[in-house]
Symmetry: C2
Subunit: 598 residues, 2 copies
């Protein structure tokens, strides 16, 4: 072969050689991490995806090669042939696996040059994320990102192995599919062959996986790309990856057991941790009561206590009137929080304001047991005693109150609880605390559209005991949905599905759909449900977020090779971009004038 490699082929990676290899002739290829000249000898740290090996150009033994090596700069790509030797005593690096050896180069191939990179290829990189995203091919060379992306690969292998071993079939579903309402906005794809019509990119393969169950495939999975055209927040990407699965002839406990088994396998493989199962099960109502949120971080206490009954008759009119008008009063006991400054309390009040809380009452319990508080004077001794018992109040405590609608109190105190745990350093970062949240409500009421909406999706089964509530008291109906929560993140969610056609129609009706509407949108599902649909259910995991937590990262952009910005742009390729008018003509589309204030 007359190409640049000639007959030179790698024999080893750059993290493979050790003292046992001394004397061997080897060929390594990679990038120049660092070059040092010392006493006329050129030392190069040669890097590949596996690690670093020191290679040496010594003018005494190989003057020609040494001469040629003078051009080498950082990030040049080279191939070297040479003999593995022991490093001189003083140069052994016990921190490196390859730190006992070096390769004395006898042949050098300069495979490519490199301009000086806009930032150093190392973890402590001091440039904006936008620069990193623009030069993503360089950013991806940094050891931390290399490790993240490789961990992502290993995680997907571990998941697949587990599911393959448990009778799941990896089955593909269409990406060009039909727009159906599943809560978020669809990405649309105009059809050229059917002008004026559009495909939608899937928000999840929900109906296809149900059809797989109805077709008899029994256990399905897919690690699959999904799409949501949402207004982007920090932790959202327009496209994201799901571990999606569905099982026939099962109830929720069967699915939770499989999902737990998958997590055990995954965390063992990636983190070497033995997770304990079964994970805790927490009914939705209890999660809200104790933690304020349906994705509680259970690594720490600071639980919420409902004080409504105690304060309902008190002289503190704010609390009393909230309870009277259907609201609630809840409190958190911050152990040892008595020392919080006025400024700190103001900051906490600002924090809960994000969640629409109009204020935050507090009580400091001094070492002598007396209460320092703007509101303490309004409570009777009996009310105080009831508070002490319910909150376990002791000297040194700080009690924080929320009083508003249940939604505002729970959201604000739930998030305040997480905020306090970080502030007080109550969280062990290396702990992985899983919980299942179960028995979600079927519906929530959409005040804007004046109708019920499915809390999960319209294919979620209600509890068998709650069929009657679907029409009589929709907000009280509980579903057979479950979320897996890890360290305060919802990492997975699923449900037992509706497999009976009449029940499915009843749910569509409860959601305010006329028969014509649901027949048009979901006729194929109804037709499938009446042709022998087995009981079935499933779950989907957000793979990006899961890998983020496995890697100990705080942004999913650090575990996606080519992520998009919050404006849904790729800074490297400049996607999305303008297209030729001829392309739009073929699609029978016109771009409307955008007014500047739109």
């Amino acid at each position: 072969m007359s190409d640049i490699l000639g007959d030179m082929r790698r024999t080893h990676h750059c993290w493979e050689l050790g003292a046992a290899d001394i004397g061997k002739e080897v060929v390594l290829m990679g990038w120049v991490q660092r070059r040092r000249d010392h006493g006329g000898v050129i030392f190069v740290d040669l890097r590949d995806r596996e690690g670093i090996t020191q290679v040496v150009f010594n003018p005494e033994f190989t003057p020609d090669v040494h001469e040629k090596a003078h051009v080498i700069r950082n990030e040049f790509v080279i191939g070297v042939r040479g003999k593995v030797g022991a490093r001189p005593d003083g140069m052994i690096n016990p921190n490196l696996k390859t730190g006992e050896i070096e390769v004395m180069v006898t042949e050098l191939k300069l495979l490519n040059e490199a301009v000086t990179p806009p930032f150093m290829i190392e973890d402590r990189v001091d440039v904006s994320e936008n620069i990193r995203l623009k030069h993503r091919h360089l950013d991806l060379r940094r050891p931390a990102l290399q490790k993240n992306i490789i961990t992502r690969h290993k995680a997907s292998v571990a998941v697949r192995n587990f599911l393959n071993d448990n009778g799941f079939l990896d089955l593909e579903t269409p990406v060009l599919t039909r727009s159906t309402p599943e809560g978020a906005r669809d990405y649309l794809v105009p059809s050229r062959v059917n002008p004026g019509k559009f495909y939608a990119l899937p928000q999840s393969p929900q109906l296809f996986k149900q059809l797989f169950m109805i077709a008899g495939f029994d256990r399905y999975y897919q690690i699959v790309r999904c799409f949501r055209d949402e207004d982007l927040r920090a932790e959202r990407q327009p496209e994201f990856t799901q571990i999606d699965m569905e099982l026939a002839f099962v109830g929720e406990e069967d699915i939770m057991a499989i999902a737990e088994g998958m997590m055990v396998a995954l965390f063992k493989e990636i983190r070497g941790i033995d997770l304990q199962t079964p994970f805790q099960r927490l009914p939705y109502d209890e999660a809200i009561a104790r933690y304020g949120l349906d994705k509680p971080d259970i690594r720490f206490g600071l639980e919420l206590k409902d004080m409504s009954d105690i304060v309902a008759g008190s002289d503190f009119k704010v609390f009393a009137s909230v309870v009277k008008s259907g609201g609630i009063v809840k409190a958190i006991n911050v152990k040892g929080g008595v020392g919080f400054s006025r400024k700190e309390l103001d900051d906490l009040t600002d924090f809960v304001a994000i969640y629409k809380a109009k204020g935050m009452a507090w009580i400091k319990v001094k070492e002598d047991g007396t209460w320092q508080s703007p509101i303490a004077k309004f409570f009777s001794d009996g009310e105080k005693q009831a508070m002490i018992e319910r909150l376990g109040i002791e000297p040194g405590d700080l009690i924080l109150f929320g009083a508003d609608t249940p939604k505002v109190v729970n959201e604000s105190l739930g998030n305040l609880r997480n905020h306090l745990a970080r502030k007080l350093d109550l969280i062990r970062e290396d702990e992985f605390a899983f919980t299942w949240v179960t028995h979600f409500p079927m519906f929530e009421y959409d005040e804007t559209e004046k109708r019920y909406q499915a809390l999960h999706h319209p294919f979620t089964a209600p509890l068998d005991t709650d069929y009657g509530k679907l029409t009589d008291d929709p907000l009280a109906a509980k579903s057979r949905a479950y979320d897996m929560v890890l360290n305060g993140f919802e990492i997975g969610g699923g449900s037992i599905r509706v497999h009976q056609i009449e029940l499915q129609k009843k749910i569509f009706a409860a959601l305010g759909m006329e028969q014509a509407e649901y027949e048009e949108k979901f006729g194929f599902l109804l037709s499938a449900l009446e042709s022998g649909a087995p009981p079935h259910g499933g779950i989907a995991f957000g793979f990006d977020r899961l890998v983020m937590l496995l890697c100990g990262e705080s942004s999913i952009r650090d575990i996606i090779a080519f992520p998009k910005t919050q404006k849904a742009s790729c800074l490297m390729t400049n996607a999305p971009a303008e297209v030729d008018k001829s392309q739009l003509d073929e699609l029978a589309l016109k771009i409307r004038k955008i007014s500047l204030d739109s």
Copy 2:
């Protein structure tokens, strides 16, 4: 759990029980394949994805359950608990793995009913493909499709295992990316956040996988969905799946060896066949010379011979003038074809007309050695003797000629060769004959656009020896591209890529791009090429077609769970569909009026 399954859980699949299980209590769940009533006893063939087990409702032993079983019809979903028993002597079915046993049912759960399906759930189904596609959830219950889809799963597992074991990383690339010209039309996705701009769905992750190599990931693979908005032919789908891979620090032989290893693993796993490697290598020019096509089916002979030199000076003016004007004359010797009727010869002439051949000359060689032919009289004895030698002519042969431009002759005779092999039954259907086609031309000339186009793509490296030809004689420049061909299908294709920035610019220039154009479209690639790009190359396999061949099917729609029609529609979900005006408004788009004749 108070759901329909209660505490009943499957203990076995329906293809698991045998004589060794007699006496066990088991629970099976599945679909009623067939119900028979015989002497008051109800026999049901219960089906799941694994197979069939006979379950028996006997009024003598379990009158209640037997009574309940009366409602059972085909495709009903049931769960049964019962005891495994030996079938009576006369009822043993040696063709079934479970044919020695039956399950005497003691408990029946009716899990769902089913309306009468529009077609029988069996392989010999006598309905149009459109009906099958509309009711795909039922079509997918047919044993042949179940087997195909499960084989597809197994093939993907085998491929992943092989690649994981060989140091490849499964790395994800964006689906919402930038429109770049790669030969076919892009599917576009309007951006709402960036109005007037569009993403494109990838035709392949080509540039991203090259960037992975430049970022140092060394070996990449992905089983990935790709998209082409082409005018659909029988074997095309708007979305298709590729086994995509890329390797750094390699030449073409390294990649071919890995690809062969993957095929060995795949065919062993799926078909139990031991493929012999290395596969034959066939340079493009030789493939065209001998077979007329760049994807030759090498399972049979019927090779093309160039007769141009022999007939150039003959009295047959048609041949002589074709050669004079730069065309060629080629022939196929159809052994034993002397018996072809006039009608058959006319049909062959019609066949080559599809490929723009204006006619087809022929010679029949009778048993006595005389030539029967409209054109034989024009050739001298010397010319005849030369033909006899080159074509190995013997009594009983039929010689077929093509005379036209090289393109027309090769395409028409190449396809005629395949056609004849099927007609003459020369093909062993269970034979898998692989070949590599190598040394493709870099460019072809586009007569419409009056410019050179890349035969593969603009990132394909030329042979090191052909750099000069890029500017001096572009059509003579050969590339480092290679296709893997199986039984006349191109199942994979790839190349060594350009890793030097100056060479890449030279190729863009040869393709008629100005600097401003290629900087705008491919600036990120050029920037990557100058930042330390290693020598690299890769290959991509059409997974759909590969699975089709592994399954012995002739349509890729039979190995895709939810395929689209030739009009790119999904008959089940009715995608693509019209969308709400509000959705288009958000995207700042308008549908242009479609005139009826457009």
